[in-house]
């Protein structure tokens, strides 16, 4: 009984740390899985893959303890390092965290699969994939926790994630079932046991202070970009104006590292396609990686432009930047603009890489996907269509598209920056707002199911979507007006900035109309108003984080 109390305390800490994300992942798996089952003929397999991804490959909850997301300012190593001073054996420290991680994700998968199976009458594999989930999580924990080297973490995670993905892929049958061989099951058992043992050894080294980063503490300022990446570009800070100095600051601290990371991803993608010419198995990862790369550049490298910091559960704006004699609107504008330019350049590099990569797929011979169709002609067709469509545009249309792309990326960067700033000030309210799309998705799926079973007539379904569209419109309009009034009143938004935000929104609308057809006046006004709202939200939220 002596060790029961610390274990309960550790389990409680785990629960506190992961409960929100557990709820989000449960809802996300249900919404996306149900969407796939409703919308696609091969929805069962897609839903199964979604559930497996949501409950294994993209599970980062405990990483929050180390300072946040994988690529953004986390401190590598065992996340419960503050337990090291407790009178508990390392094996227990590691065992409890691993057990919680494994049990919670397996339980969530089983619950999601059972619910979807019950609602849609589509049985999902449960017991046959439990060992896979367990071994994947344990191996992932080993890769992330047993070392303080980021490089080892990434390489190790990649080294077992990809083969395990292929193993799973090769064992998925139609109709949906998963059957692993006896040898595969034994390998997974061995992976699990070895992962536990190696993690205990690795964490014990960190606890004793033998590990590298214990000697060289990781103190992040630059949003978590490695020092060598930040130090890659050395150019002197201009002293002639504060604006130039701030642009220099943004470029050095995060802009150029983002650009380099984006170029690195683009190059990796191209090399992967080149390697795939000789090694067929790489073809299956090239396409998912291409999709993930675009999302990563936009949402990971484009995230947290305001440099909001996280330390030991506290989210706050940097006091160094908050005490600069710089207006909030100017500071927010410069940060968003510099980051947008760098993210856009990275996306262009990625686009060029994809363009060049698709030209290589002809050398692959065949690329047969799950539906037994060769994907290469499809990829080439997409490339050709893109070339025809884009090449056929006028110069004005090219300029218009560039403006649309820049403003769209700026809006994504603004939203992410504002979200982090709001998290520092209104974490609970933000959580509620972020849940709204999921709740809307759940409501939509319930309605669609009810309509399919003849319970709800079509006009009610249409009425729901029309009502939510106009409600979101009204919410956006009210929010934009409030942000403008509040921002001007508190002087975080200047008249010049507000005018600029309005001009950008109008430019977006005009560029859209010049480059692409609009379905209706409401259809074009919706994104224009959204951009205006995000433009005003950025300085307002930074002001809230700066002056708490």
């Amino acid at each position: 009984m002596r060790s029961a109390k610390p274990i309960i305390a550790m389990l409680w800490e785990n629960w506190r740390l992961t409960r929100v994300e557990a709820g989000q992942r449960l809802a996300l798996g249900l919404v996306l899985g149900a969407g796939a089952l409703i919308l696609s003929d091969s929805g069962a397999i897609i839903a199964f893959v979604i559930l497996m991804l949501v409950h294994s490959y993209i599970w980062f909850s405990i990483a929050k303890l180390n300072g946040g997301r994988l690529a953004d300012g986390y401190k590598p190593g065992f996340p419960f390092y503050f337990h090291f001073a407790r009178p508990v054996p390392t094996a227990v420290l590691v065992g409890v965290a691993m057990a919680y991680d494994v049990i919670s994700c397996v339980a969530l998968y089983v619950l999601s699969a059972a619910l979807l199976g019950f609602i849609f009458g589509q049985p999902f594999p449960i017991f046959s994939v439990v060992l896979f989930l367990v071994s994947y999580h344990l191996a992932y924990a080993w890769a992330q926790w047993s070392t303080r080297s980021r490089v080892v973490q990434w390489v190790a995670a990649f080294a077992f994630s990809v083969p395990m993905f292929f193993m799973l892929k090769n064992r998925v049958g139609t109709p949906l079932q998963v059957e692993f061989s006896f040898v595969e099951n034994m390998v997974m058992v061995l992976i699990s046991v070895a992962s536990i043992a190696l993690t205990v050894v690795g964490v014990a080294r960190q606890r004793r202070g033998d590990s590298m980063a214990v000697v060289v503490p990781q103190k992040d300022w630059s949003g978590g970009y490695p020092d060598w990446l930040v130090a890659l570009f050395q150019f002197r800070c201009p002293t002639s104006s504060s604006t130039r100095a701030q642009v220099w600051f943004e470029l050095r601290s995060s802009g150029l590292p983002v650009l380099v990371a984006g170029f690195g991803v683009a190059l990796t993608l191209f090399l992967l396609c080149v390697i795939s010419t000789s090694f067929g198995n790489f073809r299956f990862v090239s396409i998912p990686i291409a999709i993930i790369a675009v999302l990563m550049v936009l949402f990971v490298l484009g995230g947290n432009a305001f440099g909001i910091r996280r330390k030991q559960g506290r989210t706050y704006a940097s006091a160094f930047e908050s005490t600069l004699p710089c207006g909030t609107a100017k500071l927010a504008g410069l940060k968003v603009l510099v980051r947008t330019a760098c993210v856009l350049a990275a996306l262009i590099a990625l686009g060029a890489s994809l363009w060049a990569s698709i030209s290589l797929v002809g050398d692959w011979g065949q690329f047969v996907m799950n539906n037994n169709q060769d994907a290469i002609p499809l990829l080439q067709k997409v490339r050709q269509k893109f070339a025809d469509d884009f090449g056929g545009l006028t110069e004005y249309a090219h300029v218009a598209l560039t403006i649309v792309a820049f403003i769209a990326v700026a809006s994504v960067v603004s939203w992410q920056a504002a979200r982090e700033a709001l998290r520092a000030r209104y974490p609970r309210l933000l959580l509620v707002v972020q849940w709204l799309p999921t709740v809307w998705g759940l409501a939509s799926i319930t309605l669609a199911l009810a309509h399919r079973n003849g319970v709800v007539p079509m006009f009610l379904v249409r009425g729901f979507f029309t009502a939510t569209f106009w409600m979101s419109w009204a919410a956006m309009a009210i929010a934009a007006i409030y942000l403008l009034w509040s921002g001007l009143e508190q002087r975080v938004v200047t008249l010049v900035y507000a005018g600029g935000a309005l001009a950008v929104s109008v430019a977006f609308g005009a560029a859209w109309l010049a480059g692409m057809p609009a379905t209706s006046i409401v259809g074009i006004l919706w994104p224009v108003w959204l951009i205006l709202m995000l433009g005003l939200l950025a300085p307002w939220s930074l002001g809230r984080a700066r002056h708490t």
Partner: protein, 301 residues
């Protein structure tokens, strides 16, 4: 009345349900050094953060140079120098980059003064912030805070991490130089000897309230520490007029008291005792006496 550089009136601030500041009023004029003293959690840093606009006043008024630091951060911060351990300097910058970056924001930057301080501290401008010790970081931060000759210098626990030599020889010198130049310094510290050495004015904070505020010499002169001897044996501290803290036992007690010595002597005589010796109380004795007294008041309430 001299125009105030800093004017805080009836400032209150709560975090969740805990009151960090409770009706604080504070005034600072040009050319003076103001020391804020108090235990951890007394509200010193919270008050300073309000002066910088890092915290928004929920009740009361904060004016720096007559401006609201939240509504006009440029107007205030361009005239204020700030040093704090919480102001984590960008680790990736070198000292030279930090100084150039700060210079770009301040047209009044005095390059020769910055170089002089660099030499005094013995700092290598090419060194990165992350390579510096805690004390060296504080020195680099101090240069960045004073080299543009701000009209108001705010130092939050400036001694934290500095060794005794740096603290006495350099920090004192910089602070005195700033004040002698006709500018204002407000600094917080829990090192009472430091406050006694450097300040013209002292403000004692306790549990979010200003317990005591005034010119240092006046404050010290208003409190005495006296040793008293009674004929009678007391098991509990005797009740004496104007006494703030009573220590000792039996017949001999040591008392920190305010007001005139005559009044105190009269009170002691009335209890059958005599004042053996008396001297001005130190700031530490005043602080402990006042803090203890407010704790007793809080407990009684």
């Amino acid at each position: 009345m001299e125009p105030a550089v800093v004017d805080v009136s009836d400032l209150s601030r709560a975090f969740e349900h805990k009151k960090a500041l409770d009706g604080v009023s504070f005034r600072a004029t040009a050319g003076q050094v103001y020391g804020l003293v108090g235990a951890n959690g007394a509200g010193k840093t919270t008050l300073l953060k309000h002066l910088l606009g890092l915290l928004r006043a929920t009740e009361g008024l904060v004016r720096v140079f007559g401006l609201d630091p939240v509504r006009d951060p440029v107007g205030v911060l361009s005239r204020v120098g700030y040093l704090s351990e919480e102001r984590e300097l960008p680790e990736w910058m070198s000292i030279d980059e930090l100084l150039r970056y700060t210079q770009a924001y301040h047209p009044t930057w005095d390059e020769s003064y910055a170089r002089e301080l660099l030499e005094t501290f013995g700092l290598d401008p090419a060194k990165k912030i992350k390579e510096l010790s805690k004390g060296m970081r504080a020195q680099a931060g101090l240069i960045a805070a004073v080299a543009y000759r701000p009209e108001l210098l705010i130092l939050d626990e400036p001694s934290s991490g500095l060794d005794a030599v740096v603290r006495r020889d350099i920090l004192d010198a910089v602070v005195r130089a700033v004040a002698d130049d006709g500018r204002t310094v407000i600094f917080s510290s829990h090192l009472l000897d430091e406050v006694e050495r450097m300040s013209d004015h002292v403000t004692l904070m306790h549990q979010g309230r200003v317990e005591l505020s005034g010119v240092l010499d006046d404050v010290r002169g208003a409190y005495q520490r006296s040793r008293v001897r009674f004929v009678e044996h007391f098991d509990q501290p005797p009740v004496l007029d104007t006494a703030l803290a009573v220590e000792g036992g039996g017949r001999t007690w040591s008392v920190v008291h305010s007001g005139s010595l005559e009044q105190f002597r009269h009170s002691v005589t009335a209890r059958g005792g005599e004042v053996v010796e008396s001297r001005d109380a130190t700031l530490e004795e005043i602080f402990l006496a006042r803090a203890g007294r407010s704790r007793q008041q809080a407990e009684a309430a």
